[in-house]
C-alpha cells in the first residue's frame, strides 16, 4: 500500500494547489533560462545570418556590434581582390526608431548590397530586396505585414519579405535595406543642415561609408592568411566568425547573461527553500499519523518513503505544470524565450535533487517523532 499516494489522493485539492504554486515558481525559473537562451541566440542570429568567414572592420575596433566601426565604401572592392577571398559584401548597421500604425517601433537596420553577402539567412515569406531603392525585408517580430509601407527617415519602404528570428542583441527586429538606402538613412544630412554646410563652403557630404565588410573565403584558405594580407592596410582590422561571435557574447550580452544567471540561481534557491518549507509543514501536519505508524510497527523506511515520495511527486507535478505553462505562454513574452529540451531536462533533474535535499528537513523531523506522541490526548 503506497501511503504517500493515498495521502495525496485524500488531500488532492490541497496537493494540486501547492503544485500550482510551485509550478509558477519553476515556470519563472524555466522562463529565465529560456530568456537567457533566447538572448544569446538572438544576439548570435545577427552575426551568424551572413554565414561568412571573416569580418573586416575599422582598425583598432572590435567590430560593428561592440563599438563604432566606419570605413570607406570602396573597402569592399579592396577586400574582394585579396587572394583567397571568394566574395565580399559591404554592410551597415544602425538602430532606428520610427512609427508604424501609430505605434512606436524600434528596428535594427542592416544595409547590404542585394546579391552580395550581408542579407538575411532566410525568408519566412515574400522575397528578397530586388531594387536598389524603396524596398525592405523586415522580421516578423516587428508586426508589419507583407505589402505594408514602412516609414524610415524621409522615405517610405515597401515590405517585400519577412524573416523569422532576425533580431538585434537588444531584441529589436531587424530590417534589411539596400546598402544605398541604409547609407542615406544613416549618413545623409537633413536638408537644412545640408544647405547650411553648402552656404559655408563645406565639401558635398559623402554617404559611401560602411561599418563592416564581410568576406567568404575560397575552400582551403585559412582566415589567418587573409587576415595577414588585409592587415597590411593599416586602417583595417579583421575578426574571424568565431572571434566575432565571442566578442558579441562576451562584450554585448555578458552582463545580461550574468544578471539572468544570478537571478535564475536565486530563484532556484528560493524554490528549494519553498519546497523545504512545504515538505516540513506537510510533515508537521502528520506528526500524530507518523507517531501512530511508528507505534504500530512501521519501519523508518516506510516513514521516510512517505515523505520523500510526496516531495518527489510534488516536484515532478510542479515542474511538469510549470514547463507546460511556460510552453503555452512563451510566445507572449516581449523577448524571445528559447526553450531547449536539454535545459528542461536539466532543470527537471535539479528539481528532483532539490526535492530530495529539501525533504531532509521533513525526514529529520519525522525520524525524531516519538511513538509515544500517538498516546494521550
Amino acid at each position: 500500500m503506497n501511503l504517500a499516494f493515498r495521502d495525496i489522493r485524500h488531500k488532492l485539492g490541497r496537493f494540486l494547489l501547492t503544485c500550482v504554486g510551485l509550478a509558477l515558481l519553476l515556470g519563472v525559473v524555466l522562463s529565465m533560462i529560456g530568456i537567457y537562451r533566447g538572448l544569446v541566440d538572438d544576439a548570435l542570429s545577427l552575426v551568424r545570418a551572413p554565414a561568412v568567414d571573416l569580418w573586416v572592420v575599422e582598425a583598432g575596433t572590435r567590430g560593428p556590434f561592440a563599438e563604432a566601426s566606419r570605413m570607406p565604401g570602396d573597402t569592399r572592392e579592396m577586400v574582394a581582390r585579396v587572394p583567397g577571398v571568394a566574395e565580399a559584401g559591404a554592410v551597415t548597421y544602425q538602430t532606428v526608431e520610427t512609427r508604424h500604425r501609430n505605434e512606436s517601433l524600434r528596428l535594427q537596420v542592416v544595409g547590404y548590397e542585394p546579391g552580395r553577402l550581408g542579407g538575411p539567412a532566410g525568408l519566412a515569406e515574400g522575397r528578397a530586396i530586388a531594387l536598389r531603392h524603396g524596398e525592405v525585408v523586415v522580421d516578423i517580430r516587428a508586426g508589419i505585414a507583407l505589402g505594408d509601407r514602412l516609414r524610415l527617415g524621409r522615405d517610405d519602404y515597401l515590405v517585400v519579405g519577412r524573416t523569422r528570428h532576425h533580431v538585434s542583441t537588444g531584441g529589436d527586429p531587424v530590417a534589411f535595406l539596400s546598402l544605398r538606402d541604409a547609407q542615406d538613412l544613416q549618413f545623409l544630412p537633413k536638408p537644412s543642415t545640408y544647405r547650411r554646410d553648402q552656404a559655408r563652403g563645406a565639401p558635398p557630404p559623402t554617404t559611401d561609408t560602411v561599418n563592416t565588410v564581410l568576406a567568404r573565403l575560397l575552400p582551403g584558405v585559412s582566415p589567418e592568411a587573409v587576415t595577414r594580407e588585409i592587415g597590411r592596410w593599416k586602417h583595417l582590422g579583421t575578426a574571424t566568425q568565431v572571434q566575432q561571435e565571442a566578442i558579441l557574447v562576451q562584450s554585448v550580452v555578458e552582463k545580461a547573461r550574468r544578471q539572468i544567471g544570478l537571478f535564475t540561481g536565486i530563484l532556484m534557491v528560493v524554490s528549494a527553500v519553498v519546497i523545504a518549507l512545504i515538505i516540513y509543514t506537510m510533515t508537521m501536519d502528520k506528526v500524530r499519523e507518523i507517531a501512530t505508524l511508528k507505534l504500530i510497527g512501521a519501519p523508518d523506511r516506510t516513514i521516510v518513503g512517505l515523505i520523500l515520495q510526496q516531495a518527489l511527486a510534488m516536484g515532478m507535478v510542479g515542474f511538469g505544470l510549470g514547463a507546460a505553462l511556460v510552453n503555452l505562454v512563451a510566445d507572449k513574452f516581449p523577448r524571445r524565450v528559447l526553450l531547449l529540451p536539454e535545459d528542461a531536462a536539466l532543470l527537471g533533474v535539479l528539481v528532483l535533487i532539490v526535492c530530495v535535499l529539501a525533504s531532509s528537513l521533513g525526514v529529520r523531523l519525522a525520524l525524531r517523532i516519538e511513538p509515544a506522541a500517538a498516546l494521550g490526548g
Binding site: 500500500m1 501511503l3 493515498r6 485524500h10 499519523e289 505508524l293 510497527g297 509515544a372
Partner: protein
C-alpha cells in the same frame, strides 16, 4: 509457554526521568503480571505513572531498571533484548488509543490492512483479513468509509480491528472510552472482553472512566509510581 504463565511479566520495573535535583521517579520497583484472557483496568491520578507503565509494557520507552518478559520471551533485562522493538510491537502488541488514531487518508478496510501489509502480508490477504475483522466487530458496512465519516463508536471499533489484525497476545488501550458515551463505552469494553477470551490475549486498559469499572476482571491502581493493593 504454560497455560497459566503470564503473557506480560514485569519485575522490579523502575523508571526515572532526569538526574540530580530534577530527577522524577515515575515508577518505583513495580511488579505486574498480565494473564491470557483477562481484561485489566489500570487506574490512577494524573502523574501517578500509569502512562509511563503503558509505554514500558508497549516497548515504547525503556525502564531504568527491571526485568520484563512478553509472551514467554525476555524483552528487557537491564536493556532491550528483544531485537527490533517495532517488529516486536507489530507482532505481539495491539494498541488502542483515546482518539482512535486512524490514518485519515485510509478507509476503514485499509486502516486495518496497513498493519498486515507492514507485517509482510500480501495486499489481497491483508484486505481479506481486514474484512473479516470488520465483520467480527460489526462495522463491515463502513469498510469503505474514511475516519472523518465514522461516528466515535465506529471509529473505535475500526481501531480495535486494527489492534487485532496481527493476532497480538497483548492489547494496550489508552483511555479507549474517554470520547464515548456510556452505552458505546460498554460495547467497546465488551468487545475487548470477547477478544481477550476468544484469542487468549491479555488486555490492559488505562482509564479514568468509572462507568466501565465493573467490566474489568481486575483493577490495578497506581499511585506515586507503585501499584496499590
Amino acid at each position: 509457554m504454560e497455560a497459566n504463565s503470564p503473557l506480560a511479566d514485569l519485575r522490579g520495573i523502575a523508571k526515572h526521568f532526569g538526574e540530580g535535583e530534577s530527577r522524577v521517579d515515575a515508577l518505583r520497583g513495580l511488579d505486574l503480571a498480565l494473564y491470557p484472557g483477562e481484561v485489566v483496568g489500570l487506574l490512577g491520578p494524573s502523574g501517578s505513572g500509569k502512562s509511563t507503565l503503558l509505554n514500558i509494557i508497549g516497548c515504547i520507552i525503556a525502564p531504568s531498571t527491571g526485568h520484563m518478559t512478553l509472551d514467554g520471551k525476555v524483552v528487557f533485562d537491564g536493556g532491550w533484548t528483544g531485537g527490533d522493538l517495532r517488529k516486536l510491537r507489530l507482532d505481539k502488541i495491539g494498541f488502542i488509543f483515546q482518539f482512535h488514531n486512524l490514518l485519515p487518508f485510509l478507509n476503514s478496510r485499509d486502516n486495518v490492512a496497513v498493519v498486515l501489509e507492514l507485517a509482510g502480508q500480501g495486499r489481497a490477504a491483508a484486505r481479506a483479513r481486514a474484512d473479516e475483522l470488520l465483520s467480527y466487530l460489526e462495522v463491515d458496512n463502513r469498510a469503505n468509509a474514511f475516519p472523518a465519516h465514522l461516528s466515535g463508536g465506529e471509529a473505535q471499533r475500526v481501531a480495535i480491528a486494527r489492534a487485532l489484525a496481527n493476532h497480538p497476545r497483548l492489547i494496550l488501550a489508552d483511555e479507549p472510552t474517554a470520547a464515548l458515551d456510556s452505552q458505546r463505552a460498554a460495547i467497546v469494553l465488551d468487545l475487548l472482553r470477547k477478544v481477550a477470551r476468544e484469542q487468549s490475549a491479555a488486555v490492559l486498559v488505562v482509564t479514568h472512566d468509572e462507568k466501565i469499572f465493573d467490566r474489568f476482571d481486575r483493577i490495578l491502581r497506581v499511585r506515586d509510581g507503585v501499584l496499590e493493593g
